[in-house]
Amino acid sequence: MSGIRLNLGCGGRPLADYYNVDMNTLEQLRQRYPTQVFPENTRIYPWNIFQLPFKDGSVAEIRCDALIEHLSFAEESKFFFEVGRVLKTGGLLRFMVPDLEQVLRLWLEAKDDWKEFFRNDDEAIRAEHWFGQNSYTTEQRWGYLTAVIFGSQNGEGQYHKNGYTEQKILNILSHLNFELESLTRERWKGDREFVLSVMARRA
């Protein structure tokens, strides 16, 4: 597909052939994801995602994975309207977002067995400390599962401020006059929390 493609809030996942946009610099992202290899020519654009430097109807595709749960209630509408503004008619919006329904069900079912306070020193990050469980396990509430609700909190912007379900996404897309192409559930990075993966076109 030709045309301008944006990957907003790219974090540790910049994509080839997209303008990769993030509030953090490449240096900051390298620090946060020490094991991640960023290609030599990676460029991260520090654009304001609520005022993108593109004309109305000029963008072919916008991707944003694990971004919208970081936006506050007030920013949510600004973001969706900005996406609607810059996308062409027929332009593609693709995003992934945690399934709050699934996450809260898992959290309620998990063991309420608090072990330790959160740590984010280098040693703890290397050891996947997640509140003393030293793993991404979701067997226990006070570890990675709580971080899926409130964000990993390992940098500026790394807080979650909103939640989504399949039905909320359908209602928002219809409110914004987007046509749903697909909505599937998958696991983040293959084995972690359930995320909703959405593709929709601007009508």
């Binding site: 506050s72 949510e76 069900r105 909320k168």
Partner: protein
């Protein structure tokens, strides 16, 4: 004898007989709660709650209502340790915090009926807009219930970054060095969020 008592994160509820502390000034709090006139009330001090300007073991009582859920994973242990530092041996620590077990259950039981984006202009605040619900109703997920999870987001500190259950509080208090006197279920403003009201003593 001068017995100092602190009310931390007092918001629109500064108490007589306490040193009231908040991130926001009286003017900022009144802008957020237009029905509330605090001009002739007790003074509100902008102290750093993680480095309180009091010597160790000098405080009779610390209160903190609806404060803990606003602290990040990293600030959480700093706060508990600071409260313990300033309290006299046997000093009282009283706090209320949302009972996230009940919040999560209520949210899952509520209808998944998204109506409108959040609005926080003065008219919408007066009308209790809450995502187009125009009330504090807990019948739909996408209204006040979502704000119970992520905070009301009406000001700089008004985001929730963590959560608690009875089980977690018992373990945290034990770890930090407090003896629990009682934990009770209460409702915020007698009708809203399900809260846990905790009374503990410094060991």
């Amino acid at each position: 004898v001068n017995k100092v008592r602190l009310n931390l994160g007092c918001g629109n509820n500064p108490l007589p007989g306490y040193v009231n502390v908040d991130l926001n000034t009286v003017e900022e709090i009144m802008a957020r709660y237009p029905d509330c006139d605090l001009r002739n009330g007790p003074a509100i001090h902008q102290y750093d709650i993680l480095q309180l300007p009091f010597s160790s073991s000098s405080i009779e009582e610390v209160r903190a209502d609806s404060l803990l859920e606003h602290l990040s994973f990293l600030d959480e242990p700093k706060f508990f340790n600071e409260v313990r530092r300033v309290l006299k041996p046997g000093g009282i620590f009283r706090f209320t915090v949302q009972n996230f077990e009940l919040v999560a259950k209520r949210w899952l039981e509520a209808r998944d009926e998204w109506k409108a984006f959040y609005k926080d202009d003065p008219d919408s605040i007066r009308q209790k807009h809450w995502f187009g619900q125009y009330s504090y109703t807990q019948e739909s997920r996408w209204g006040y219930l979502t704000a119970m999870i992520f905070g009301n987001q009406k000001g700089v500190g008004q985001f929730h970054r963590n959560c608690y259950t009875r089980g977690k509080i018992e373990k945290v208090m034990e770890r930090v060095g407090f003896e629990i006197v009682s934990i009770e279920d209460v409702l915020w403003k007698e009708a809203r969020d399900p809260m846990l009201s905790v009374l503990a003593k410094k060991r």
